[in-house]
Symmetry: C2
Subunit: 274 residues, 2 copies
């Protein structure tokens, strides 16, 4: 698909259009050029985008793919009408109409779930969760661990911080994270503050080779980064988690999204409607 552009046109942020469009496009080889056009909420703005789509169609000699999430009929019809020389994939309409029939109600043509979200209690919980996760990053504070939904454990640089921030941002989950350090391995015990909360602990481990590589980027040539030391820490951490009955997974070949999804599936925090 060389010379093929993809438009994401939305009356909101376009996040739905882009997330969805990307997962469709991942089914095909090659990476097309992305053109994002968020906040298209008036006919005038829609006509500007239409002109742009048609110009790209002429320049590239192939019709651009256009993923749209446009709720307002007047705005949508400008892009979906006969003047448009793109291939329009209307990801709302394809499913909203059958659901109206199923539910026996008309859809309310609401624009932008993210905007309404800004005032909701759910949104405020997300912001609170982000602040909580930042304050409880890397064992900074053992205070309020009782109010954590999840506590991530693992050796330094095993992926705890990005995962806990993702859990907070995406799911409003209060995720503390707690490092396992050489002192813990000498004592052969999980850190004492965690003892009351084992049921909400989840461990991350990582291949020692990969760990050594990551640590070497930070502190080249240090004992901390040495492969031998990484092997020791990972082996001890895994043994400790196994003895304590803490679930864990290896982050080596997994993305943050996959790690977070697995944790939620296994821990099933009370606050998440699962």
């Amino acid at each position: 698909m060389p010379n093929r552009s993809v438009f994401f046109v939305s009356d909101g942020t376009g996040i739905t259009a882009e997330t969805f469009g990307n997962s469709i496009l991942a089914q095909f080889p090659a990476l097309p050029r992305h053109v994002r056009r968020p906040f298209i909420e008036t006919p005038d703005k829609a006509r500007e985008v239409l002109a742009e789509i048609n110009q790209v169609a002429d320049t590239e000699g192939k019709r651009p793919i256009v993923f749209i999430t446009l709720v307002d009929d007047a705005v949508r019809q400008i892009i979906t009408g006969p003047d448009c020389r793109g291939m329009v994939l209307d990801i709302l309409q394809a499913f909203v109409v059958p659901l109206e029939a199923e539910f026996g109600v008309k859809s309310n043509h609401r624009v932008g779930r993210f905007s309404d979200a800004a005032k909701s209690s759910e949104y405020n919980e997300r912001i609170e969760a982000i602040n909580f996760s930042l304050a409880h990053d890397d064992g900074q504070s053992a205070r309020n661990l009782a109010s954590a939904d999840v506590i991530l454990l693992g050796v330094s640089r095993s992926g705890k911080t990005p995962t806990s921030l993702y859990l907070a941002m995406q799911h409003g989950i209060k995720a503390a994270n707690y490092p396992l350090i050489p002192e813990d391995f000498e004592r052969h015990k999980l850190p004492t503050p965690l003892a009351p909360y084992l049921s909400k602990c989840f461990g991350l481990t990582i291949d020692p080779e990969r760990l050594s590589q990551i640590r070497n980027e930070r502190r080249p040539g240090s004992k901390y980064a040495a492969l031998e030391n990484c092997r020791y820490e990972v082996r001890e951490a895994e043994a400790m988690m196994r003895r304590s009955g803490v679930s864990w997974l290896s982050s080596t070949h997994k993305s943050i999204e996959e790690i977070a999804t697995t944790i939620l599936r296994d821990i099933r925090p009370d606050r998440l409607i699962y």
Copy 2:
């Protein structure tokens, strides 16, 4: 829609199914019960989910809505077949088939874009961006501001931290953030370290009433949280950004997603293919 359950069934994390499904459901009143079933990648697992869907259909007396992203034909056909008593919305198939015709190639039925992502350079850039944003939170470090893609400015608690983490996590953008503090207002000048980077600065402001409310939750009754002080800081910060030609918006009624989308649209960082 009381007593109506919605399933999100995916062979990956289910993030696409859920993001998309939620934006569809937001067009209708009431909030249905969510059932997430990620990592359904074998026929056996699919049959378990099928049994669950049918049981819910019987219990609730209404067919559940089932959003699926299942790439493997054998797995998908178990859920989409005649035995399923849910209303299945197959969000990949509806668009993949027309695109195969358009591109003139078969789709590669690839499972899980997030999994492949874990090894890509794009993914590593995201992780690096998260680390950068954490290290440059709240003006902690003026080092490496040259390598920031975006620098967020604003008074304390105007929404800089969640926004910069979101930019990093979602878009791999290195977003530093820098607080505007009373000393800056007395000097009537933006902090000196920012001077070389005005073109990548973006300001966040906030209604003083809302700011006072947020700050009072942290430090009740303090001068920091007093409405009069919040009015002063916001007025000075806005005047300073206006004088320096820095773009800004009010975070008061906007979600993180909307703020981030606006920033990317206006700043257009080099690293983002826009």
